[in-house]
């Protein structure tokens, strides 16, 4: 019937013959260029297992936020409050876990995490109601949120720094023990690869049944590409040893959290009606409404999702720092939005991908870390990062064949 492969069309992005998103691929290319450049400038440090491990951990918070921000931006909204919400939720978790609940209770950290996520959802719903039901522009609402929740973060503990957290909770931060270890990392890799392979086979069989011309070779090549990249990633994480030992660390927990978020969000945006509605609203909200899409409810849900992701990011951040401070998360909104936009989300709505946002976050963090590795001062760093961001997006534009 058609000779194209059957890819989820909702993202409305050009895909190449193998069904990969062209834009994301060209971004990955740029990331590689940046990494290799820093590798040479830093005398071989950048692509060391250790730095890559750090990079993954450091990226996770911004990447988690960027995933949610992509949804927000696709619906033609913006969320300036994410840094403040993260800070506020982090402080509430810290206060509960350290000051209110008994410190040695086993239920303490799970309960506080649950409360934190609930609080995040609530804050997201608050923003969502203002935006979707009251019709106040998201810029204004979330600017209000930026102020309100930063103020609240201070009020929670009167500006005090709260520490230390439960040792199990701290694993979320990817500290010295916060990684899976070598064996479990490979096991996880194997499980995911098997599931992925099975999924592809099932989809393929279904497509054959409906008479679509879906080439096996394309699918196989794609599977192999994913397999090799994932294996390389696991091997790298495993080859970074714990201090003064030869025990490999394996996949860090924050990366695991990010991975779960990404898989879930990719699933939602590609395969569910909710994801489809998000793109339809961004493309033409009036058309979406005329076709009976519950536009307001959908936007509300998007902001709730953003709130939950802020809470998850808050867990990772506070666990990593092993302290709750009222300034946690300041200015993160800029990084999160930048990651989403670099990853291809368009502020005029209707366009963006989760994978792109993650790559965008990796690019930003690579620049940050790389500049420190080569010993640049903070003002030089700012100038260089600013320039590279602009050039990267420009290069991406031409590489991906837009215009």
């Amino acid at each position: 019937m058609t000779t194209e492969t059957l890819e989820p069309p909702s993202l409305a992005e050009p895909t190449n013959k193998r069904g990969f998103n062209v834009r994301t691929l060209s971004l990955v290319g740029l990331l590689v260029v940046i990494a290799v450049t820093f590798h040479f400038l830093s005398g071989g440090l950048f692509l060391s297992a250790r730095n890559l491990y750090n990079l993954v951990v450091q990226t996770s918070v911004v990447a988690i936020l960027a995933c949610g921000m992509t949804l927000v931006i696709v619906t033609r909204n913006i969320d300036l409050s994410v840094g403040s919400v993260l800070g506020c939720v982090g402080m509430v978790i810290a206060l509960l876990q350290i000051e209110i609940f008994p410190q040695d209770a086993a239920w303490n950290w799970p309960l506080t995490v649950a409360i934190g996520i609930g609080l995040g959802a609530l804050i997201g719903a608050w923003h969502g109601v203002w935006i979707a039901y009251f019709g106040v522009p998201s810029f204004v609402v979330t600017l209000g949120g930026l102020l309100i929740f930063r103020g609240a973060a201070f009020e929670v503990a009167q500006g005090k720094t709260l520490a230390p957290f439960d040792p199990v909770y701290r694993l979320f931060g990817g500290g010295i023990d916060g990684a899976l270890g070598v064996g479990p990392s490979w096991a996880l890799f194997a499980i995911i690869m098997v599931l992925y392979g099975l999924g592809e086979v099932l989809v393929h069989r279904r497509q054959m049944r409906l008479g679509f011309d879906s080439t096996v070779r394309t699918k196989l090549l794609r599977f192999l590409a994913v397999f090799v990249v994932a294996a390389a990633f696991v091997a790298t994480m495993n080859s970074y040893m714990k201090p003064r030992s030869d025990i490999g660390r394996g996949i860090p927990v924050p990366a695991l959290v990010l991975l779960s978020v990404v898989l879930f969000m990719e699933f939602v945006t590609r395969f569910t009606t909710f994801g489809r509605y998000i793109f339809a609203i961004g493309g033409n909200i009036e058309a979406a409404r005329l076709n009976g899409i519950p536009t307001r409810r959908t936007v509300l849900k998007v902001f709730i999702a953003m709130g939950v992701l802020c809470a998850i990011a808050a867990v990772v951040t506070t666990a990593r720092l092993n302290a709750g401070t009222s300034s946690t998360g300041e200015l993160l909104e800029l990084s999160a939005i930048a990651a989403a936009v670099i990853g291809g989300a368009s502020l005029s709505g209707g366009r963006g991908t989760i994978a792109g946002a993650v790559v965008g976050a990796l690019i930003i963090q690579s620049l940050e870390s790389g500049m420190v590795l080569i010993g640049a001062s903070s003002s030089q760093r700012m100038v260089a990062i600013g320039l590279v961001l602009m050039v990267a997006v420009l290069a991406d534009k031409y590489l991906s064949g837009e215009e």
């Binding site: 989820p8 069309p9 008479g211 909710f274 489809r276 493309g283 033409n284």
Partner: protein
């Protein structure tokens, strides 16, 4: 026979503009009612109220004899009212099959999520669209890159795919080629035979006299008059549209010019 739709005293104003004023219209099963009028007469506004896209200011609408609120497009769909909007209502960033099933995707419910069956939707979409325009092959192209007629084809395909009982067609063939237009004419006859009621807005007198059973003419938001197709001539209808003059065989409405 009981009418499918009865609109009574329906009005709508935008600021100072009385787009629709005190309109009464009926639609029976298996009937095609053409709604005619000059540009800006209020035809689209009237139909949008029936489609749940605008809320009416006053008046009642009965569907199958039951009063209907029609406060949202979803409510209209539930009552079996499908619409081809003049603006087409397509999301430009999505492709043909995504637009065709927009809001009513084929999906399996899994927990809180509905997982779309893209393959199935693609398959259906290809079939419906092919029925209207066999040359339409770029099913994977986002709508913004389609030609005017291709876009209109998607909007028509959408409205006929979800078996409606009432179909509102707001200038459905404006951008279509002669062959495509003929196919839509064919389609209207088929649907009519199935007992579906159709409101057809069109400026093409040919089409109207070819397809419609009854005509309603609007002018400046009011009904000039309505008539069986066979009771009036093309020239009389033009007189209704342009001059607001209601011929003797037609039933005059509040917008008819009283004196000559």
């Amino acid at each position: 026979m009981k009418p499918l739709i009865e609109m009574r005293g329906v009005s709508k104003a935008f600021g100072g503009v009385h787009a629709v004023e005190d309109v009464d219209v009926d639609l029976y099963p298996g009937e095609v009612v053409a709604v005619l009028g000059h540009n800006g007469a209020g035809k689209s506004t009237l139909m949008k109220m029936l489609a749940g896209a605008y809320r009416r200011d006053t008046g009642t609408v009965l569907v199958d004899g039951n009063p209907a609120e029609l406060s949202s497009p979803a409510e209209a769909f539930d009552l079996g009212i499908e619409t081809i909007h003049q603006t087409l209502a397509l999301a430009d960033n999505l492709d043909a099959s995504a637009n065709l099933f927009l809001g009513r995707e084929i999906a399996w419910r899994v927990g809180p999520f509905k997982i779309m069956d893209s393959a199935q939707m693609r398959d259906h979409a290809a079939k419906v669209i092919n029925q209207l325009n066999p040359r339409f092959t770029n099913l994977n192209t986002p709508c913004r890159d389609l030609s005017g007629g291709q876009r209109q084809t998607i909007a028509i395909a959408r409205a006929i795919h979800f078996e409606a009982r009432v179909l509102i067609m707001d200038e459905p063939t404006a951008a279509l080629g002669p062959h495509e237009t003929a196919m839509v004419g064919e389609l209207i006859r088929e649907l009519k035979a199935k007992g579906i009621g159709i409101f057809l807005i069109s400026h093409d007198m040919h089409d109207v006299f070819d397809l419609a059973d009854r005509l309603v003419v609007m002018k400046n938001g009011q009904v000039v008059g309505s008539a069986k197709k066979d009771d009036v001539t093309q020239d009389e209808v033009l007189g209704m549209i342009i001059l607001g003059k209601c011929p003797p065989n037609a039933e005059p409405g509040p917008g008819a010019r009283v004196s000559q």
